[in-house]
Symmetry: C2
Subunit: 421 residues, 2 copies
């Protein structure tokens, strides 16, 4: 325990030192380093496959889908390298002048983007996240401390090592990419309390991982939390459009955070709209959990599978072909439902009424609010960010899709000619 603590503190001390060197690198130099990291990854393909085989051998208890997610292949390694080269070509936000002005005192103030410093990423997903997360942090001049899931520990260590070694050939400072080499859960608590060496933690994973970080963290945490997303079909909706959007938001990829979990339908068009959407959902089939009014309408249509919705349904992120359905009497009722039960991630209205849409966009307090488009567009790629480190459900520093800019801080440069107060 004491040994674990001091070994993780040592990682922090090294990361802080690396971050100071990284902050001095030019954009061109960082791009060169990223290209070298991509080459390093490919050059180590054999070593990565050997390490990955150890993880796969240990993974007997997992289901086939989980083992497939864990497995590396030469193609997947090449894909990671290609991803790194794409990030290398993106515009570096560091150094951007955000604002510049002169005060009556004569001091000239420049607000300029800087790296954050040291970023901790705690995740429990496939090994490619090790590479994706590390390169986004490095592109923005940050040192990174990675802590991946225990099932991929050998692969993650091999990837981090290949990135650091490859990058070093082009001048990557030592210890810029470090992976915590233990699967001890206690390591997360130690990281979360190390605010002298870690400027922010980004947890990417399930509820218990996020709770473990939030309850211990002394530094800012940017959470990628629940997506309980809604589509509200207004009484003045174009029902063809509403059908397209509802189907897309629920069915195109139900396992992601920006998929719809609850459909709200205005009472006036509920019979007509449910008669349209129910058969389309039934083909998948989407299991619906409905409030009494919607339940009656759907039962009359002969819709199955169908169950009653309760308080829990409205708060549930199914991440599956299951949908909560509710009939509401007004925009206000729809907004109140979202405020009460939603997760403030992505919420949409379908309507032809511009005034109603404007009220919806103004009053719904979610990271992304939509008028006549699917909630599935909440995504760094769809926003044109070029890269995405996650989707923040927090309101400070970063909200919604997080690209490179969200991995930066800023400072003020003051130039004077001897001014005093």
């Amino acid at each position: 325990m004491k040994a674990l603590e001091s070994s993780i503190l040592e990682i922090g001390v090294r990361a802080r030192a690396a971050s100071r060197e990284l902050a001095k690198l030019s954009s061109a130099k960082k791009s060169e380093i990223l290209q070298a990291m991509a080459s390093g990854l490919v050059a180590e393909t054999d070593a990565l496959l050997r390490a990955n085989a150890q993880d796969v051998a240990r993974a007997e208890g997992l289901n086939k889908a989980a083992i497939d997610r864990l497995r590396l292949t030469p193609e997947r390694i090449a894909g990671m390298a290609k991803g790194i080269r794409q990030v290398a070509d993106l515009k570096d936000p560091v150094g951007e002048i955000l604002r510049e002005w002169t005060q009556p005192s004569g001091i000239q103030i420049t607000k300029i983007r800087t790296p954050i410093g040291v970023i901790g990423i705690i995740y429990e997903s496939r090994p490619n996240v090790t590479s994706d997360a590390a390169v986004l942090c490095l592109k923005t001049g940050n040192a990174v401390i990675l802590r991946g899931g225990s099932e991929a520990i050998s692969s993650n260590l091999a990837i981090a090592s290949a990135l650091q070694t490859g990058g070093a050939k082009a001048g990557l400072p030592e210890h810029s990419v470090q992976l915590v080499p233990t699967t001890d859960r206690e390591a997360v608590r130690i990281l979360a309390q190390m605010d002298e060496f870690l400027d922010v933690i980004i947890p990417r994973g399930g509820h218990s991982l996020i709770e473990n970080v939030v309850s211990h963290a002394r530094m800012p945490v940017i959470k990628h939390y629940h997506g309980v997303c809604h589509v509200y079909v207004d009484k003045r909706a174009n029902l063809d459009m509403a059908l397209d959007i509802a189907l897309n938001a629920k069915c195109q990829r139900p396992g992601v955070c920006n998929a719809m979990e609850t459909l709200l339908v205005h009472r006036e068009i509920a019979p007509a709209f449910l008669a349209r959407v129910a058969p389309a959902f039934q083909k998948y089939p989407v299991e619906m959990r409905a409030d009494p009014e919607a339940f009656q309408l759907l039962a009359d249509l002969g819709y199955e599978p169908l169950g009653p919705a309760d308080e829990t349904s409205w708060r549930t992120e199914y991440l599956d072909l299951i949908l909560s359905v509710r009939v509401v009497g007004s925009l206000e009722e729809a907004v109140a439902h979202m405020e009460t039960y939603g997760s403030h991630h992505s919420d949409a209205i379908v309507t032809e009424d511009a005034d109603v849409a404007a009220q919806f966009l103004r009053e719904v307090d979610s990271a992304t609010v939509y008028w006549n488009a699917s909630t599935r567009f909440t995504d760094g790629g769809e926003f044109g960010f070029g890269a995405e480190i996650g989707i923040s459900t927090d309101k400070l520093h970063a909200r919604g899709p997080m690209g490179l800019e969200e991995l930066t801080s800023y400072k003020y440069l003051i130039r004077g000619t001897g001014q005093v107060r």
Copy 2:
């Protein structure tokens, strides 16, 4: 304890409800409300003075200066009201369009400033902070939960009540301004864990208050922490200018966070500069704590009061007429000193060499870095922000002086014509 917890949770529930109403108000309406709050404060002058007399009567143990800070007078109440009217006239940042673009998919994305929601302010200073902090939060459409120091509890309650009652006459939503009506320290822990109802906590006070918040908080904390600020006098400094800046940074108001605590002097000009600055400091007198090299030079000059500096000196925020002094051999040594011992608040270089200045501005990782100006300009007023809620020593969300913009979040509005993925 259980009763305390539920009463504070109730404050949180009410604040969240108020925040939803506040977010709907126009800028003009908010200005009207702030004017009504100013009038309400003045109208309640007698009640405020009576409440304040209770605090003053309880304050017998405090020193004269502390009692003076605690005391309200009709003039001070008028001053608070004037401050509110000034904030009412500032530009409201909420609703500002930060960026607007259209993606190839056809969706139109608008990034727009919003209120944060509910802001907690925990402070231990004079009662006018109750009014100052509340109005800045309201101007930006946020509900506020205030928790002031126990010595001013009666005054703070009276001020919060006068603001809420006065504002209500112009339409301020109920419970927009709430003060925690207990001096129980446990209340801070309960607030800090209430992340469902509080979006951010801003602690303003000493080390133990900030530590109490940071160690318990589940939501983002924006700290207003130490200011261990440096002035580095380079070998190519204009010594007249360096003298002005050093005197101003140390002596003009030594008790504030942007005052200089450590003077670093390049070896080549140390004898000449210390011979200039020492007699000027001696007049105050400034007590110097010097490294061996500076100590010898100052002792040769007959400077007193003088003591040796140690590791603790370099980390100390004196907030007094005391100064640590060190001779360094290079810019790199000066920067390394700041990185090792500083608090990343405000650091200055005095030099005529533009290249050295550029390197300093680039490499020193502090909220505000200065070339040829006093560190004392790190201030919302001097930055032209019109108002200041504090000076952040954090790197996420807000860094350096915090004005109205730093009390806002943002969201994305997406307008489509039926787009799906």
